[in-house]
């Protein structure tokens, strides 16, 4: 198998993980700020 293809195969996962982490963190921060505004517990 071509080394360049294997390189992309190995390095694509951290990129997907970074994207997921961004989505989760953004949602968490929004919920945290909303909870603060409404003066209630986050969970």
């Amino acid at each position: 198998m071509e080394p360049i293809f294997l390189t992309l195969y190995v390095l694509m996962w951290p990129v997907i993980v970074a994207g997921t982490l961004f989505v989760i963190t953004r949602a968490f921060l929004r919920e945290w700020l909303e909870a603060r505004r409404e003066k209630r517990h986050l969970v």
């Binding site: 198998m1 080394p3 360049i4 294997l6 390189t7 195969y9 190995v10 390095l11 996962w13 951290p14 997907i16 993980v17 970074a18 997921t20 982490l21 989505v23 989760i24 963190t25 953004r26 949602a27 968490f28 921060l29 929004r30 919920e31 945290w32 909870a35 603060r36 409404e38 003066k39 209630r40 517990h41 986050l42 969970v43």
Partner: protein
């Protein structure tokens, strides 16, 4: 390339202690902010059934990523080559995805439940409830033990401390922050843990890749890889790793109370979004970690002591500097703690709701304060049991396979119980026991699986393939498509599987469990006169605490 036998770097004792204090101290401090003066048993189990997307997606992801899955994915990459991590991580991720349509149905019929077994009590009665609860308890205890072992092994390898000291540290740390606030502490700390784990993956994989030689590693290491290991379509990887996992997709999701608990905790309209995000998060993280095993294979690295479980710490200790090694340790400690705390919460919920709430005190008479005490005692006892089993370093993966098959016996009866009004308690119990009775001799080859018996196992297993595909399709597309997909899958698989499948004991054992439980449950239920009214479940399963007036908490959200 790193030569084999190279001296692995270790963290100093004080640095290791500082990291553990930072991690467990930090998570404990996080939980202090969610303590309530007036404690609540329902909050302790499901956080009031209304947590948001960010925190629930983080929690699902963190819980499903356990330390053993990281190690197993790397092992799969090392053993089966480039397709190995896919055959571990992808199917593990789909366990989350395929359960969400069923999850939506379960929430619809039992919006304020705490455990799946509790709903089975309302649907069928005690026998079905205790079967599911019993399998959940065994599964969670195995998971707790496995995570303690992973922590002990990591600390034993990367620090001057021993394995025993390692398991004691992770057990005490996890119990410390889980004990007081239960599920609320678990989901709250999951966000910090997911941040550490996913963040570490984003950094560590590329760093190890470039430190190990980058693209040249694949050019120079091609001789270390067999044609099967170098192929994305490896039949070895599929038959030995992927296929048993496909069969287990629904079983692990149905049998795992940690998933059910999050299903009951998340706001109902956010179930799909949460589960899809967790699927992507888990899949990419675990497949990414599996790349360490693929790289080790190309580099020609031999695992320390011949134990493939040492691969990940070995790769980290070889290619990461001190700072990233600390990050790596936090990543694994985060993975094992987030799953261990979820299992402690799952065990406490089962003891609180299923054992005390439904069987000892009876609904309506359960004292929430006693429930909380039961939950906390359960956590302490479960931690002690996990420590006891972990100290003996039992071969828990064999146990896990066994419990997985037990869950396989439960899948059809549980799912059918939520959709088909004719399923009876007798059908449920008989189906599970019969399937287990056939599974055990097949899985452990008590009767030699060859000749006529081998062919019979093949036929039942082919039916099992149809059941697995049918059930997977049913959640998304309904009964008609499920029946067609199941029949097509069985017919297409038959020419390849007949005469062959019985040689793969793990796979055929699981498929037999599915097929037999489905067949018995279907035949007994089809003949029954029961016409269960699903709307009665929500009257039987609900909050244990008395309703409180909604008063905003001025001290909250700090």
């Amino acid at each position: 390339m790193a030569p084999n036998g190279v001296e692995l770097q270790q963290l100093s004792g004080w640095l290791a202690i500082a990291l553990l204090v930072f991690f467990y101290g930090g998570t404990f401090i996080m939980t202090l902010g969610i303590g309530k003066k007036k404690e609540n048993a329902d909050g302790y189990m499901t956080a009031g059934n209304k947590i948001g997307f960010g925190i629930s997606a983080a929690s699902m992801t963190a819980t499903w990523i356990w330390a053993s899955s990281m190690y197993a994915s790397a092992t799969s990459g090392y053993t089966y080559g480039v397709s190995g991590p896919i055959h571990y991580g992808l199917w593990g991720a789909l366990m989350i995805l395929f359960i969400y349509p069923f999850g939506k149905r379960i929430r619809k019929v039992a919006p304020r439940a705490h455990t799946l077994a509790e709903v089975m009590y309302a649907r069928h009665g005690r026998a079905s409830q205790l079967m599911l609860a019993g399998s959940n308890i065994v599964g969670s205890l195995i998971s707790v033990t496995s995570n303690f072992i992973a922590g002990g092994a990591l600390i034993g390898m990367l620090t001057p401390f021993t394995f025993q000291q390692g398991i004691l540290a992770v057990a005490a740390g996890t119990l410390l922050y889980s004990l007081w606030s239960g599920f609320r502490a678990s989901v709250m700390t999951d966000f910090a843990q997911v941040l550490a784990m996913l963040g570490a993956v984003v950094i560590i994989i590329p760093v190890v890749f470039f430190a190990a030689g980058g693209t040249d590693m694949f050019a120079q290491g091609a001789a270390n890889v067999t044609p099967q290991q170098g192929s994305f379509f490896s039949s070895d990887a599929f038959m030995n790793q992927g296929a048993p996992y496909i069969a287990a997709v629904l079983a692990y999701a149905i049998g795992n109370q940690t998933i059910a608990q999050r299903l009951f905790a998340v706001r109902e309209d956010l179930i799909k979004k949460t589960f899809v995000t967790a699927t992507v998060g888990y899949g990419a993280t675990i497949i990414g970690i599996g790349m360490l095993g693929v790289m080790a294979l190309y580099l020609g690295i031999t695992p320390t002591g011949g134990d493939v479980n040492n691969l990940i710490p070995q790769m980290a200790a070889t290619y990461l500097g001190p700072v990233l090694l600390c990050l790596f340790m936090i990543m694994v400690i985060g993975a094992l703690s987030s799953t261990a705390d979820a299992d402690l919460c799952a065990l406490s919920s089962i003891m609180m709701a299923d054992i005390y709430g439904q069987n000892v005190a009876k609904r309506g008479k359960a004292n929430p304060k006693t429930m909380l005490l039961v939950g906390r005692i359960t956590m302490v006892v479960a931690t002690g049991a996990g420590l006891f089993f972990a100290s003996g370093q039992m071969n828990i993966l064999d146990l896990l396979v066994f419990v997985g098959a037990l869950w396989g016996c439960l899948v059809f009866p549980v799912i059918a119980s939520f959709y088909w009004s004719k399923v009876t308690n007798a059908a449920f119990v008989t189906a599970v026991i019969t399937a287990l009775a056939v599974f055990i001799p097949v899985r452990f080859s008590w009767i030699p699986v060859d000749g006529l018996w081998g062919l019979i196992v093949d036929v039942i297993s082919i039916a099992g393939i149809g059941v697995v595909i049918g059930l997977m399709s049913f959640g998304f597309f309904g009964g008609r498509v499920a029946r067609i997909a199941g029949i097509i899958a069985a017919v297409v698989a038959a020419p390849f599987a007949f005469g062959q499948l019985h040689e793969y004991a793990v796979l055929s054992g699981s498929l037999v469990a599915y097929a037999v439980s489905t067949g018995v449950c279907f035949l007994m239920s089809a003949r029954s006169r029961m016409d269960f009214d699903f709307s009665t479940i929500q009257d039987k399963v609900g909050d244990f605490d008395p309703a409180e007036p909604a008063v905003p908490d001025a001290t909250a959200a700090r």
